[in-house]
Amino acid sequence: MAEVPTGYTVLHERPKAFYDTFERKGDLQGQTHYCPGCGHGLAHKMIARAIDELGIQDRVVAVSPVGCAVFTYYYFDTGNVQAAHGRAPAVATAVKRSRPEAIVFSYQGDGDLAAIGTAEILHAANRGENITVFFVNNAVYGMTGGQMAPTTMLGQKTTTSPLGRDAFNEGYPLHVCELLAALEAPVYLERVALGNAKQVMAASRAIKKALTNQVKGLGFSLVEILSPCPTIWKMNPAKAQERVREEMVKVFPPGVYRDRTAEAQTRPAPPPPPRLEELPRLLDLEAHDFTPAADFQPGALDLRIKVAGFGGQGVLMLGEVLAEAGLLLNLDVSWLPSYGPEMRSGTSNCHVRISNRTIASPLVARPTMLLAMNEPSLRKFVADVDKGGWVLYNARSLPADVKAPEGVHVMCVPFTELADTLGEPRAGNIVMLGALLEASGILSREAIDRALEIHVRSARWLELDRRALELGRDAARKELAYACV
């Protein structure tokens, strides 16, 4: 290197936001891994300079993509997180929300941001996350060897559009800034290019502005950088630069697509997360003041219950009360609702397991108790009931053509009709619960009462359900006495 003549002082030098040496490889610790003339190197340098100028190096967290820029963390002497392909905006969201004082930017290619990561960028922008996104659009997948990207231009040849991109076959190039400008939340969206010195200077200003916005807490900022990829484009760096300048800018016009920085208000910092100790109270999971009776000895208990009916019959709630009672008795429980699209009509069912041993699967394939609130449910599941188990059916008798399997007890009681006598047919599920408890004789009355209190918040319903429970117990006692005669 030539000696600098006296009288000259440094005007521009290696930005401080870069590590002094890049330890990616044994040698070449002063260079990036990018190809000669690659826009990534330029974008890195502009970002590093902006970090220097804003004096924010110790606050910055960079989120790197999958793509040629995957090694961003070797260069920026800042916090670094490497995200899975396309997920950088989601990762940046998490970092920013948990460290509101950090200045978080994601750095992404067009394959990363505009293909696999389309959902993440759209929603981060739509939420107006207070992050900065640098989007390097080089119209191809660089790292993987030049496949077509969503931003590949019409007619552009890539390994996967060897005849040139055709709108009818591969669709039109995706315009990310224009797309995001349709959203309400973004504060700043600008597209810049790296086609000549003038464009580079404009890009540099946009990058600094996008970071400044975050320092001011204004909200979501994105800079799209039209960037040369000499290697995949099979052009020398000057030609590649010319292509950005002459060709790319025609397809992707540079400009400001959104600038609400003047009127944007500083976003309030997110409220601090609740302390861990507070979570049980907030989630209403506080230990309930209940101690099982000292003589409660369930023995080898393995209740496998299937509750089935039509939506609105309280099938899921019946299951929850059962499981809650099991929990209060310090048993292992599981509750698995199965409703899908049948939440409001058709059949719905839930699987409840209550055991004094560890439950391996919440699925109940061979119930010891089937609670069938209607005929379709009975028909669907009756054959599955295990030997020695119970079928409780919501009618006076089984349909003539339905038979329970050998060795299975059957109790037919019109539970809904009984609930009708209380003036509330919807309490039919609890009438049935009362009968089940009487038939199984396992879960203590106290535990069920407490479980009901936990699940039924309205005083009117609690009162009603208590009466429904008694009605069910009485009915079951009668049935059992009858069966013994």
Binding site: P5, G7, L11, H12, R14, C35, G41, V200
Partner: protein
């Protein structure tokens, strides 16, 4: 020679030949055309950029257009008190 030419250049530029990848973007950016790619190769096999030694105006464009972090340093002439 005219009087203007005896004035010292407003800028000066150094190139770290071992960090340069010979892409030539600095050469493209330099308006007075005082940068060129050298005939020789650096140890990686690139023709590094070279400064002609005079004529730099300190505009800094070569620095801004260079993709490598530390390949180019630009200097400016410190204002000397008028004699």
């Amino acid at each position: 020679m005219t009087q203007a030419n005896v004035q010292p250049d407003r800028g000066y530029v150094t190139i770290n030949a071992e960090e340069c990848k010979g892409c030539g973007l600095c050469v493209e950016a330099c308006v007075p055309r005082v940068l060129a790619l050298a005939a020789h190769l650096n140890h990686q096999g690139y023709h590094p950029a070279e400064y002609a030694g005079s004529g730099c105006n300190g505009c800094g464009l070569c620095f801004h257009c260079c993709p490598e972090p530390g390949a180019i340093t630009v200097y400016k002439l410190a204002r000397v008190a008028a004699a």
